[in-house]
């Protein structure tokens, strides 16, 4: 597993997601690359530490948190619901044929519901949010950095870490599980709709046979793991945005690297969390 993680991380560095530009790639010695790799993690650690110190102390930015929850949550809802619905349709159509070959078509509702609730829903939501929210936050904070708005905020004795970063990270942590529920719901419903094409079944029967063996831990643990995805997306996107330099080109780089790194770390976190959840809830 760790080999896969290293390959992922190196892939991001090569793709330009890491703070190494394509033009400088050739001229950098391997030692510089390794140095930058650890430098990024070091700076990210300091950023998280600084954020923790500022975020826990009052005053709390309740109004801004609510505004960010609206921006991160309700404005992402249609996209996440659509992605969840599409996943449900594809899963239902693909799985029905496979199950038919083994004479296990009656398991279709259980397979669709288990797949969506335990893995597809959380991961699809995490990746969709990495794209939409990661790019948005990276570009917004990056633009504020290069146009001196962050300096202006600090100059007027307002802490950007508390006002901008903590509120966005918290909104991501709070909204990801709720969006995952929406994706799960749409996925299951559209999975049932797609199933109707092959073999008509009432929604009640579909849900009864699908949820028959579902336990509370099957549902709650994967949904709550998206809080970790939310913290990853919020922290990385804010970090990339806050360290932007180099004018409008830098803002573009911040947005791109936010998306690449958020998606990458969501996948890595998923690998680790799936293993962890299997250990905790065998």
């Amino acid at each position: 597993m760790w080999l896969y993680l290293i390959v992922f991380v190196c892939g991001a560095a090569v793709s330009g997601g890491w703070p190494v530009s394509a033009s400088s790639w050739n001229s950098l010695a391997a030692r510089d690359l390794v140095g930058r790799f650890f430098e990024w993690f070091g700076e990210f650690g300091l950023f998280c530490g600084r954020l923790m110190r500022r975020a826990v102390a009052p005053p709390y930015e309740i109004a801004e948190i609510v505004r960010q929850c609206d921006s991160v949550g309700s404005k992402s809802l249609p996209l996440v619901a659509l992605a969840g619905a599409a996943t449900g349709v594809v899963l239902s159509l693909e799985v029905r044929d496979s199950l038919a070959r083994f004479g296990a078509k009656s398991l279709l509702p259980a397979v669709v519901i288990f797949s969506i609730v335990k893995e597809s829903g959380p991961v699809i939501t995490g990746l969709i949010m990495s794209g939409r929210v990661g790019a948005g936050i990276g570009a917004e904070l990056g633009s504020m950095r290069v146009s001196e708005q962050l300096d202006a905020m600090e100059a007027s004795a307002v802490d950007p870490y508390r006002y901008l970063v903590a509120t966005r990270v918290l909104a991501c942590i709070l909204m990801l599980p709720l969006l995952t529920l929406a994706a799960d719901f749409c996925g299951v419903i559209m999975g049932w709709v797609a199933g109707q094409l092959g073999e008509p079944m009432s929604l009640r029967l579909f849900l009864d046979s699908g949820l028959k063996d579902v336990e509370f831990s099957d549902f709650i643990a994967p949904t709550l793991k998206t809080m970790i995805f939310g913290s990853i997306i919020g922290l990385i996107a804010c970090f990339q945005g806050m360290r932007t330099e180099g004018g409008t080109e830098g803002v573009g780089r911040a947005a791109t690297s936010s998306v690449v790194l958020c998606s990458l770390f969501v996948i890595i976190a998923d690998v680790i969390l799936v293993r962890l959840l299997l250990l905790l809830f065998p």
């Binding site: 633009s143 100059a155 007027s156 004795a157 307002v158």
Partner: protein, 257 residues
């Protein structure tokens, strides 16, 4: 890293508003400020002149604690901002206003919200009181008819006016201006210069104006310093600068028309 406030820090309201001593700042191999010293009295306006890239904007950012100096001290009303922790530094910042070169208005907020922002953070004013104060300040810079507009809908000169109103929101003792007239047409530049002049007369605050506009500086400043190679080349009134025989000063004044 900022250390604990020095024990001799004290609020010295009677002394100079700003005392900069032996200030140095480097970025990598480049020395931007190389031991500069000056002071600004209460109700005095100091203009800082010099070529681009001589560290004038860095000087302002050091004065408000946005960057930390490598050496030297900056005392604002007797308190060394270079060695302050975040909390006490923010208390000093509340008494200072900063007009950024590009305005630096918050793009997601309207004109009125931009001016209300510091009031909502640092005062106990009600929403109505905040709005009234924001509107008064915007009226004083001639922007009270564009309250609901976003910064992207304003011209450069209008953005600087709003930024000036925002800088004045907390009624500061010290104002820092970074190129207030740069990139503006001559008429708008003159209007901004007149606003600075009228503020100087009515509010009696200390101000440091970084500018290339020699003629504007002559009008609104009490004293000028000219920087070169990270050092203060000459300090005095505009007449002192005109009398200087230094080649750089002579050329700078001549090329400014």
């Amino acid at each position: 890293m900022r250390g604990i406030m020095e024990s001799d820090d004290r609020n010295d309201d009677q002394g100079p508003a700003i005392v900069v001593k032996d200030l140095a700042k480097r970025f990598g191999d480049q020395t931007v400020l190389n031991g500069i010293s000056f002071q600004v009295e209460t109700a005095e306006t100091l203009a800082v002149l010099g070529r681009s890239g001589t560290g004038k904007s860095v000087l302002l950012k050091l004065m408000i604690g946005l960057q930390a100096p490598d050496a030297g001290s900056i005392r604002i009303h007797g308190k060394d901002v270079a060695r302050m922790q975040e909390g006490p530094l923010n208390e000093v910042r509340k008494k200072m206003g900063f007009l950024f070169q590009q305005g630096a208005l918050y793009d997601s907020m309207s004109v009125e919200e931009n001016v209300e922002f510091p009031l909502s953070r640092h005062t106990n004013m009600s929403r109505v009181e905040r709005k009234q104060r924001a509107r008064r300040l915007l009226a004083s810079v001639g922007m009270d008819r564009d309250l609901g507009k976003l910064p992207s809908q304003l011209s450069g000169g209008m953005q600087k006016r709003v930024s000036l109103a925002r800088a004045l929101a907390l009624d500061p003792d010290i104002l820092l201006f970074d190129e207030p007239t740069a990139g503006l047409d001559p008429i708008t530049a003159r209007e901004i210069g007149e606003l600075i002049l009228s503020m100087k007369e009515t509010r009696k605050m200390a101000a440091v104006v970084v500018t290339h506009d020699v003629h504007g500086a002559k009008k609104f400043s009490d004293r000028l310093i000219m920087m070169r190679d990270g050092k203060v080349l000459i300090e005095g009134t505009f007449t002192d600068l005109q009398k200087s025989r230094d080649k750089f000063v002579v050329q700078f004044l001549r090329d400014s028309g």
